[in-house]
């Protein structure tokens, strides 16, 4: 793999704030967040796009931060778990997940929370099949997924009724 040594300036909106950062075009976005922007909410579980723990929203679409190269961020709007409270869907998901004790160790929680938020932003009344599909790329070692599925259904309900 060639490693670009030249840094470029990348401008994007991060959790509502404009950011300008000098980075190598092929820096992994999740590393920029964790190491340079003091946002450790996105985790690196696998680094190869298999676990979803590094998920961020890019223009309201859930993406793997470990597969996202820095140059792709130019001009985009990024929401991380730290900024999720600014979205009504994000607040509904966080409330439902915490009230429903959806998680145990929580390592997977930011990823599931962002993926579920992205689903509710594009689909107002998702059914169980929609939820299973939207959360299908996320590994959780602890819960067996059913507590997450129950709380996700609750989040959809909360959102639907504007709770």
């Amino acid at each position: 793999m060639t490693h670009h040594q030249t840094r470029i300036t990348i401008r994007f909106v991060l959790n509502g704030e404009p950011v300008e950062i000098a980075a190598r075009p092929d820096d992994r976005f999740v590393d920029l967040l964790r190491d340079r922007l003091s946002l450790p909410g996105a985790k690196v579980g696998c680094g190869i796009g298999r676990c979803g723990s590094c998920t961020v929203l890019v223009d309201d679409v859930a993406m793997n931060g470990c597969l996202l190269l820095a140059y792709r961020l130019e001009g985009r709007k990024v929401t991380t778990i730290e900024g999720l409270g600014s979205l009504p869907e994000g607040r509904a998901v966080m409330a439902a997940f915490s009230e429903g004790n959806a998680f145990q160790c929580g390592y997977c929680a930011p990823g599931f929370t962002l993926a579920m938020t992205a689903l509710l932003m594009r689909e107002t009344m998702p059914d169980e099949a929609d939820i299973r599909e939207a959360l299908g790329g996320h590994v959780c070692r602890c819960t067996g997924y059913h507590s997450i599925l129950r709380a996700a259904a609750d989040a959809a309900l909360k959102c639907g009724t504007g709770d």
Partner: protein
């Protein structure tokens, strides 16, 4: 970085104010034999699995998983069901797909592309968790912790369901499609 180490955290309190706890527990252990009712030490859960085995590919899918545990009173329902359900799907992974392969002393399964942890699509459609909260009068060990308890009886439950479905007992996990097909000699699609 808005991070605080444990040492710094501890130093922020005066010694007298630091929380401390002490406890003692003699874990019952057995060396192969148990006096009295062995269930009190070894077996306090029952698991029922319903599976579908694909006759052509040999793939096993767990459709339903019912787990019943007799560990004493449940103190926290969310924690309890979390341990049992989470253990259930972890046990499912150990039984069907998870394998740490070692070659020349080094692991060859190094990440989630070769070590296959169950994901939502692999989780059973239905899981039911029960609790028998009353303890037997002569139970010498009293209430039990259920941490990870959900894992242990899942493999035998799936093995029994597979045996019931295709007539072979697979005794070594994971039950890979290859193992199922070689043990059954390959199967053909059911005639309607």
């Amino acid at each position: 970085m808005p991070l605080l180490g444990f040492a710094a955290l501890a130093q922020s309190l005066d010694e007298a104010e630091r929380p401390a706890a002490e406890c003692n527990f003699a874990f019952p252990i057995s060396h192969g034999t148990v006096e009295g009712n062995a269930r009190f030490l070894h077996c306090h859960s029952a698991v029922l699995a319903r599976v579908a085995v694909d006759r052509v590919t040999g793939m096993v899918e767990v459709l339903d998983l019912d787990q019943h545990t007799a560990a004493g009173p449940v103190m926290d329902v969310a924690n309890y069901s979390g341990q049992i359900e989470g253990g259930g799907v972890q046990g499912l992974g150990f039984t069907l797909t998870e394998d740490t392969l070692i070659e020349g002393g080094a692991f060859t399964s190094r990440n989630f592309d070769s070590y296959m942890v169950p994901m939502i699509a692999d989780a059973p459609a239905n899981m039911r968790v029960f609790a028998m909260e009353e303890l037997d009068a002569d139970d010498p060990y009293g209430p039990r912790g259920v941490g990870e308890l959900g894992i242990s009886a899942v493999s035998p439950a799936i093995a029994a369901a597979v045996a019931d479905a295709v007539g072979v007992w697979v005794a070594e996990a994971p039950f890979s499609p290859e193992k199922i097909l070689s043990r059954t000699g390959g199967m053909t699609a059911a005639v309607e």
